[in-house]
Subunit: 405 residues, 2 copies
Amino acid sequence: MQTPWDHRYAMRTQRIKGSAIRELLKLTEMPDVISFGGGMPAPEVFPTEEFSVACEKVLREQGAQALQYGPTDGYMPLREMIARHSARYGIEVTPENILITSGSQQALDLVGKLFINRGDRILVESPTYLGALQAWNAYGAEYVSVPSDQDGIIISELEKALRFGPKFIYALPNFQNPTGVTYSLERREKLVELADRYGVPIIEDDPYGQLRFEGENLPSIAFLDNKSRDQNGGYSGNVIYLSTFSKTLAPGMRLAWVIAPAEVITKMVQAKQGTDLQTPTFNQIVAYEVAKNGFIDQHVLTIRKIYRERRDIMLEELEKNMPAGATWTHPHGGLFLWLTLPEYMDTTTILQDAIAEKVAFVPGESFYPYGGVKNSMRLNFSNAKPEKIREGIQRLSIVVKKYLR
Amino acid sequence: MQTPWDHRYAMRTQRIKGSAIRELLKLTEMPDVISFGGGMPAPEVFPTEEFSVACEKVLREQGAQALQYGPTDGYMPLREMIARHSARYGIEVTPENILITSGSQQALDLVGKLFINRGDRILVESPTYLGALQAWNAYGAEYVSVPSDQDGIIISELEKALRFGPKFIYALPNFQNPTGVTYSLERREKLVELADRYGVPIIEDDPYGQLRFEGENLPSIAFLDNKSRDQNGGYSGNVIYLSTFSKTLAPGMRLAWVIAPAEVITKMVQAKQGTDLQTPTFNQIVAYEVAKNGFIDQHVLTIRKIYRERRDIMLEELEKNMPAGATWTHPHGGLFLWLTLPEYMDTTTILQDAIAEKVAFVPGESFYPYGGVKNSMRLNFSNAKPEKIREGIQRLSIVVKKYLR
């Protein structure tokens, strides 16, 4: 039906579509569906008591400040805390290099607003994070996709793609959403070197870095790029780094941050003014109170333990129940793994059957900018409890087996 | 200095500039400056105790939900409460007509994202709200300006401007930011009629409607437009209506809402997914807890009383101290009044002197899309305490008098 609004929409609305993930979140509200579809943390680990204490303290001691407008760039003590945290990983920054955002999704939107003109090509991994595609489709982005393997982005393919003149590279080096894959050190170093040679900046998205439960921590792209530069201790160079409190504290607070050269932060702050003025003052001060005495360091130990256990159970059940021809990744951290079925299977078709059997996932096709790959799916292992994971993978395996030729 | 990032910025960054208002917010942090520059509520009226009780209750009873991801369109009980509130003013809506946003600034950004193509003309009052210009400059908007008088937008000028084919009309009918002017009932009716005749939608921005402390409440544009339509009880037609909890509860929570036809809300929800996924779950549930039993109705009585007193003191001091040739508006509500000095004066020049004398305001020029008008300023009367308002206007008058010819 035509409505009075139809002819008013801007060109870009043709590219703004509802996401399969968000539609699936609705399914997770039905209590009898076991959903591996969302990207939700385990609610059991939310530090509700710590938040409660902090809210009471902040409102009592700083109520007038916490409920008032505040600066667009963020609450200074929180930015200083993030600077100290970053220094532990070799990223030497000052608060001028840090912007607090309303979730990492907003950082992706601001990147789009600042850097993307209609038709610009963005270099992405294939598959890549759906939320980034959603953010950048609104600005008319086009994509150059580079395949990954179990060690991350494939360097020879990356170099070919760089010849298309992308505006920037979007990389998720740790426990990537959707595949769970981690870049090896060598790939990280090569990425930095190639980006520098071709003069192409990198957006490094690292929501899960703290959630490693296997293997050694690897240096960030931001660290590798910055240390190779001749500077006077400042953060400069080629990399905008994104991280978040959504996975270490709570996503319902919508708190994340950007690290970038100071002149990029200045531009981002101006763009953020027009976008939402500021991230909630209250949330920033409360999160600072919760985190300031090293709470997150302790808390992530609990999260890692629980997520590792859930990953192990999911891997075990996949091994036990999936038919021959199905393969999956072995993530060293994060929230997701990636299941690949025989090539003749279509996971979008399978999803409808799966939902009838009360189990859900995200078809892999959603994570490719132009679709095309039909036989994969993303499975989340952080949200459901162990017994539900067992039950859900068993249900899913029964559905998949029906499609065997 | 050229940096590696300079050549990467998108075209639109040329239009994204730091706002005079936000720069001035920094001045308000210096304790000896009396600032009439910001748009901040009186911190004395923040309901810190009510928020504290609600935070504790929400974290105890609904912690897992409040700290988790939630739906993009917002917390259902909050949307239902807003629907009930709207019905009291004759706007009959269901939650499908309501989107929760991260402040009204985000609603303005989403409007820009959905409706503005580069070069589109937006019809605005002259002067108009600076934050809307900031939001829409990022999408390449151009503007057609229509002057206002003490009864709001001037209808004969509005009709001339409609012939330029604007994409939409941006109207602030209650205690406008920056002038404090309120549209008369006749102007409201004429606006609705003309917009309908020319087929041009209206964005009605109403952050201050609850803060009327003089005169009778007048019907909203949304109500007048919708009641003139032949519909089956649904909200349809020409008006997107914006309001907020920033002035009735607290701006530091960043909570506002949009009312629009359901198909527009669907598009906005999709755009919001890519922008920040959702407004913080925690803030929405806490605000609902604070507001659900009619608290805001009681609380706005207090706010109105305090703001009326502050407005009266500012008017009294202007009368006593400003030189002949200065005129000002007499707002019936809201947070601002508009001071016009003799035509040969330039308030941007005067501001520098004023800051030296420890008093601040926003030069009127900031509120015109293409600048030009030099001899006016916006004065905020909600934030400073009465004795500070007296002192500040006295200081300001001394500075202004120095510029008399």
